[in-house]
Amino acid sequence: MNLLATQICLLSLTIVLCVDAQHLITVNGEGNKSLSIIGEENSTQPPANLVTQRSSEAETIERAGEDLRNNEIGRRVGAAKLLGKYRNSRTSILLVGALDDQSPLVRRAAIVSLAEHASNGFMVYNRSLVEKIYSKLGDSDVEVRREVSTMIPRLVSGMMRSGMEIVEINGRKVYRAVPSTMRPDLLGMTLKAFLDEDAIVRQNVLKYHIYLNVKIPVETLERLLSDSDLGVLLTALTRISTNASHSKIVNQVKQLSNHKDRGIRLKVVSVARDSNRYHPGYRSILRNMTKDSDLEVLSMAAVELARFGERVPSAVVEQIKSFLLGASGMTTQVTTILYAVSALGVDGIGVYRALTDHSSSKIRAVAWQRYINLSAGWEKSSLWLPAIKDRDKGVRQNVLNSLRGRTNNLTEKELSSLVESKFVDVRIFAAQCLLSAKQNAVDSLGFDLLIDEDTIVRSTTIRAMSARRVPGWVKVMSRSLLDDDYVIQRAAMDGLLDDKKNGIPVLLEYVKKHPQSRISNLARFELSKLGSLP
């Protein structure tokens, strides 16, 4: 499991983004001169005359190695920087050696170059070298410590590998696995680093201690849960699981539930939810947080309680409603709360009803869908008819998808509301509803849909009329075969093909009379499949 986590972490680190920028140095004439040496833009190889000036990789590394022993700090810094561009075991050894330089500038340059190797896929696996790098977690320079702590996921595989040893038992050589363990001095250094004076180091060690198989002591975690740095606090909260049942930790989380930063309080909600199974105190923390001054925190806590099956007081439900009504769009938290409102049961229906007027189309879409589904709204047109007047197509589509196939026996008045809609998608739905609407509604409104300006509405109407066999349907189909639009002709043909007694003769006659029509070819083919050759 740890290995998998390490791999995931390494993968995530390899996709770290990189940014660069411009600079403002003014340029003299020499700049232009040098351009001509370099050659064309995007050339894949440097010009030959430039290559000949350059030394080989071995020479470059050798020279840098010498520079690392130079008396001048600047030379040693430059050498350490340059070695970052050449990834091999020789440069690793040189750079690891430079980590003991008395100048922090050289040590910084060396550790940054080693990190560059790692980010370019070259890992140091030699255990003694890796341990040397890791030991710089105790360096006196904060920049070095930060860089080492950032590198922990990349050092783990080299440092924590299990091994094999040969022991002699009763005169026989026996191979025995040696579990991965951290050197005691490094373990002590790691435990100390949890409370490093620098917040970034503390945060990194907290993030990665699991990969190192180093357990965080309860007292240390307790101190970190009262850290003054928000990043450390957030990370510490994600690391409580192994100590979650400890009353000291529960108390600390309880205190954080009143933290002034909203992000921390939101994190507490999430941690309390996940730790609920370890200690009853976490449920109590959630209950207290339903009184939070921030509506978002309050709502998150309340819906989590509702998900546990607890009844949420109506005053809190009202506050959830206020929060959602005030939201300016679908953020992650709003989405979570919006969907979780279903867990509030009957109270939730009222919240969804209120949100059907929200300014955000995404929120309206979800609210309408949930409202209709939770209140069996498809049976009451008064509930859903306002939704199909929504200006946003996405909202209407959501509603229509919830209604499709569920609305039966629409009355003339109900169907009329759909037929008169200015939205094509609603009129298409109206045409689909002809299949199950009351007969008088079909009689009085079917013709309106048949002459609709939109082709899809007309073709859907034709298909519904033929399926329903409304009086005079054969005539409608035969007229429709004469339409210029292929979609209409196709709908009429399909309708006629379904009725062997009345439809097929009409279609046969049409094909005979209009052999050159676009639909006739297909009609002949379909008729021959049915054994009714013209």
Binding site: L24, V27, S328
Partner: protein, 330 residues
């Protein structure tokens, strides 16, 4: 003072509720940003970026944005003209080819007062198809140039000067510790990084932007990818991690880099002053070093870590908010 002025100006503008001639804002008065996604189901590298930025603007300014961008997949979508800002992440589009109708619609949109933000509209040639890196070249990418040669043939992109209002309309200067939510006593960035950032990378919190004016108004800007710095998770922590590419020097370094072993390709990148940097890059590796037009050589070093990432995110978000707020006010 600046923020107070902004408050007044914004309230005035929002009360007028008109940004593009004859069109209105969202129903509740909030401004809806239109985002182009030519392929609705295409791979999106930073799907949460724009909603996060819009939410931040609602929290930190008096502007009111709908945090749901309105996604359109064609520029002829009639809803485009109902909203004042069009955001296009050029890296998220399969291509930047548009029909005659779409190009005409884009031109009309800008002429009517619409503002177009082309994120990743600048991209250095050596980055190739790597979408996750930015590099501050000072010219628009070739596809963008080609597109706008057809949309506004009489115009060309011009670099925005460092003192342009866009960089200071609301946020000014580089992030401080309080912006990063860390202790005042805590060291922000490694010294070399901070030095380079303040003097060269983002001086006075500026960045390489190019723009086109229409009827005297800045109607379109292009920048290196900024969206990667806008994302926040639900607890307020930045996502994803960002590292810095820094130019560094050292004693006797120019001679060393001239002679150092190298077998890759070279690339030219346009600088702010119009001259070219020569980037030395080896296949499969990050760029190695650069020869600058004044003849000096510097090596690229890569710095990563929580503090670096937080700093970059804070900068990009402040910059992004400035762009959208500028768009609203102009």
């Amino acid at each position: 003072m600046m923020k107070f002025l902004f408050f007044l100006i914004f309230n005035f503008i929002s009360s007028s509720s008109l940004f593009v001639h004859g069109v209105t804002q969202a129903r509740d008065g909030s401004v809806r940003v239109v985002q182009l996604l030519k392929e609705e189901n295409g791979i999106r590298r930073y799907p949460d970026a724009l909603p996060s930025l819009l939410k931040m603007m609602n929290e930190q300014t008096n502007a009111r944005f709908d945090t749901d961008p309105l996604y359109i997949n064609t520029l002829t979508d009639e809803r485009l003209n109902e909203n004042p800002i069009l955001y296009i992440n050029c890296d998220e589009q399969p291509n930047l080819e548009f029909s005659d109708e779409e190009r005409a619609a884009l031109r009309r949109y800008m002429e009517l007062g619409g503002f177009v933000y082309l994120d990743a509209g600048i991209k250095a040639s050596f980055l190739g198809s790597d979408l996750g890196h930015s590099y501050a070249a000072w010219e628009e990418r070739p596809e963008v140039r080609e597109l706008f040669a057809q949309v506004l043939p009489e115009k060309t992109f011009i670099p925005l000067p460092r003192d342009h209002d866009l960089f200071r309309i609301f946020f000014r200067g580089l992030p401080k510790n309080k912006d990063l939510k860390i202790q005042a006593s805590q060291k922000r960035l490694p010294e070399t990084v901070l030095n380079f950032v303040e003097r060269e990378k983002w001086p006075q919190a500026t960045y390489s932007f190019v723009g086109i004016k229409v009827k005297g108004r800045l109607a379109c800007v292009a920048s290196p990818i900024c969206a990667m710095g806008w994302g926040r998770d639900e607890f307020g922590a930045w996502i994803p991690p960002i590292s810095f590419r820094i130019r560094e020097s050292a004693e006797n370094f120019e001679q060393n880099l001239k002679l150092a072993s190298f077998s890759g390709g070279t690339y030219e990148v346009t600088r702010e002053d119009g001259l070219k940097d020569i980037i030395y890059s080896e296949s499969g590796q990050r760029p190695l070093w650069v020869k600058e037009p004044n003849g000096s050589w510097r090596i690229f070093k890569y710095y990563s870590g929580e503090e670096i990432s937080n700093y970059a995110h804070a900068f990009y978000s402040r910059l992004g908010m400035n762009v959208f707020l500028y768009a609203l006010l102009h």
